[in-house]
């Protein structure tokens, strides 16, 4: 699906319960109105509402991890290996006697943070790249887009594998390892963002408001970033939301292959991978990290799907 360039979406703002702004209001009031409009729109889509509730739960759990985690996630206890769920270990213990519940929480906190930063990074480089490329057009555009096409030629996980391998060879540890992972994920998201924003810009740039800005004497850069950008933001939001789910799958897959986070850092992918050896005797250990990944990805997908329905008025009638 992600290969499809989304059609030029328009924010369906003014319908139904949107409040009309008085002529002069402060930025705070403006924000409050925008939020209440957004909430109103959101409730119309069941998918988006469910996704939002799941996301709120997820983010709360991530934020509250230091307080709701019951045990040290990396403390080993050989006398309590492979325990079933109990009062002390809510979801049982893994092969080294570590508390699975606490590992899930800490792992999720880290995973979600990395995914958010990576997607933000991808947007931060992809949007200006695509907007400028589409706005200037001509030779700049051709060269810029061929570069993007080149990056898109790497199938599946391969681009990540190359970058993560480099990180391993340069012995990037701790936060540096995370930064390289973020770079890889964001960099690989860039082509999609660039294409999407370029496509929207090409459509927007024909419109009259751009003409008007130019007539007033605005410079190209200012038109591109201040006039066009706000108008192409909704397809980008939808795309970024769905991408968050995908990024989480990629991080989990890389750690599952043993190329992500080195142990003992709690990580859903590598926990799942090491649980494979105990699948017959203790299948629950493999179940929990998998369920956690599913929940998270599903939350982002539901929310993204719902947002798409809301933001694309063509689909509303369906």
């Amino acid at each position: 699906m992600s290969e499809l360039e989304a059609p030029n979406l328009v924010v369906a703002g003014g319908s139904g319960g949107s409040r009309v702004l008085p002529a002069s209001v402060g930025p705070m009031a403006r924000l409050a109105t925008a939020l209440s409009n957004a909430w109103y729109e959101l409730r119309k889509s069941r998918t988006a509402s469910i996704g939002l509730v799941m996301l709120v739960l997820l983010f709360s759990a991530c934020a509250a991890t230091p307080w709701i985690a019951t045990q040290n996630p990396i403390k080993q206890n050989y006398r309590e290996r492979l325990q079933p769920p109990s009062e002390q270990h809510l979801l049982g213990t893994d092969r080294l006697g570590r508390d699975i519940y606490s590992r899930l929480l800490w792992g999720g906190r880290r995973l979600v943070t990395i995914a958010l930063v990576a997607v933000a990074f991808g947007l931060a480089i992809g949007v200006p790249y695509g907007v400028l490329s589409g706005y200037y057009g001509g030779r700049v555009d051709t060269v810029a887009m061929r570069f993007v096409d080149g990056l898109l030629a790497f199938p599946g996980l391969l681009l990540y594998l190359l970058i993560v391998t480099l990180a391993r060879e340069w012995k990037a540890e701790g936060v540096f390892n995370d930064l390289i992972l973020i770079f890889a994920l964001g960099f690989a998201f860039m082509p999609e963002v660039a294409r999407l924003s370029r496509g929207s810009v090409l459509a927007e740039k024909q419109k009259e408001y751009v003409e008007a800005s130019r007539a007033i004497g605005d410079g190209s850069l200012s038109i591109a970033l201040r006039q066009i950008l706000p108008n192409i933001i909704s397809p980008l939001i939808v795309n970024a939301t769905v991408r968050l789910g995908y990024v989480i799958l990629i991080i989990a897959a890389l750690s599952f292959l043993g190329l992500g986070t080195p142990p003992p850092t709690p990580d859903w992918g590598s926990d799942l991978s090491s649980a494979r050896d105990y699948m017959e005797t203790a299948p629950l250990i493999a179940a929990f990290p998998g369920l956690a990944i599913c929940y998270t990805v599903l939350a982002f997908n539901l929310f993204g799907d719902g947002l798409r329905d809301i933001l694309d008025p063509r689909l509303v009638e369906r």
Binding site: E3, V143, D149, F154, G156, L162, L166, W170, V297
Partner: protein
């Protein structure tokens, strides 16, 4: 059309350039180089020896000269010798490609067989229980990590029920029925996720088609609903489905790394993954390059087919 094809092929040049530069740059960016490895194994660090070796391997030349030379050899299929098996890298890759293509093709076919009818029914019976079931299943399908799905399948069908082997591979040319047993689980894991994508796609493009005016015209002419759907809408709706499936097939060739390693499937993805673990970088380099080229060529073919099937697409 011919001019379009030529232009499209010309556009591939910069794409392949980016691909080769990234792949070449990957090995250049590794800490140390092959000289260090060679000297390290010999245990002597003599500046004289180093100089001779550098000359022999061309490291005294500037990087762009080395790139061009590497590219020249790569075009001829010479990727050097695997550091682990000491066999030519091209040979290692060639043995992996058939298994990967086999898995990807069967997976895609399986997904189409499930997804196209399901997506069509969901669109035709919109907002019914069938539609909701299809939507929920496909949403779950794209949210479940494929490696977890694969593990659960192994757990159920191999460990508990004992119906299927948990991993391994037999070439279909050696023993067709025997190879099927090994194929089912990996192909199901590939197909499940693809089917989820394709169901969503088929459903939405069917809905798109069914809202068009020619459908009303056909109905007002008294054609049966069955005829309208099978003769008109489904055909049009299949265009995006087939296009995307073609692109997905290309992507799958490099995207089955995880599944290949779970099921010990001797494909090119697993070859690359094991090469990474064993630090066999010539193999990694060549493998990524070959897969990238395959993807680029497949994308071109899909695009050309698409513009052939749908003449309204502007030939740019």
């Amino acid at each position: 059309m011919l001019a379009y094809i030529i232009r499209r092929i010309a556009q591939l040049v910069p794409v392949l350039l980016v691909l080769t530069i990234v792949v070449f740059g990957f090995v250049e960016l590794l800490p140390g180089n092959i000289i260090d490895t060679l000297i390290g194994t010999e245990g002597i660090d003599d500046p004289e020896v180093r100089k001779i070796l550098e000359k022999e391997y061309g490291f005294d030349q500037p990087i762009y000269v080395r790139y061009v030379k590497w590219l020249y050899r790569a075009v001829q299929g010479e990727f050097g010798i695997s550091l682990v098996t000491r066999r030519p890298v091209s040979l290692e890759l060639l043995t992996g490609i058939p298994a990967t293509v086999y898995l990807a093709l069967v997976g895609i076919t399986l997904s189409m067989l499930i997804a196209v009818p399901l997506g069509t029914i969901a669109a035709v019976r919109r907002n019914t229980a069938v539609d909701y079931t299809a939507q929920v299943t496909s949403l779950a399908g794209i949210s479940i990590p494929e490696f977890w799905f694969a593990i659960l399948c192994v757990l159920l069908f191999s460990l508990y029920l004992g119906w299927l082997p948990s991993s391994g591979y037999i070439s279909p040319f050696d023993d067709f029925w025997g190879s099927l047993k090994f194929l089912i689980l990996p192909a199901a894991a590939v197909g499940f996720r693809q089917a989820a994508f394709t169901t969503r796609l088929t459903r939405s493009s069917m809905l798109d088609e069914m809202s068009k005016e020619y459908v009303d015209t056909a109905r007002s002419l008294g054609l049966s609903e069955r005829k309208v759907i099978f003769k008109y809408t489904l055909r049009n709706a299949m265009i995006p489905t087939i296009t995307i499936s073609g692109l997905q097939l290309a992507n799958l060739l490099g995207g089955t790394v995880v599944l290949e390693s779970i099921f010990a499937w001797p494909g090119i993805g697993r070859a690359i993954f094991e090469a990474i673990l064993q630090r066999d970088y010539p193999l990694v380099q060549a493998g990524v390059l070959v897969l990238g080229v395959i993807v680029v060529v497949m994308n071109l073919l899909v695009d050309l087919t698409y513009s052939y099937l749908n003449p309204r697409v502007k030939l740019r």
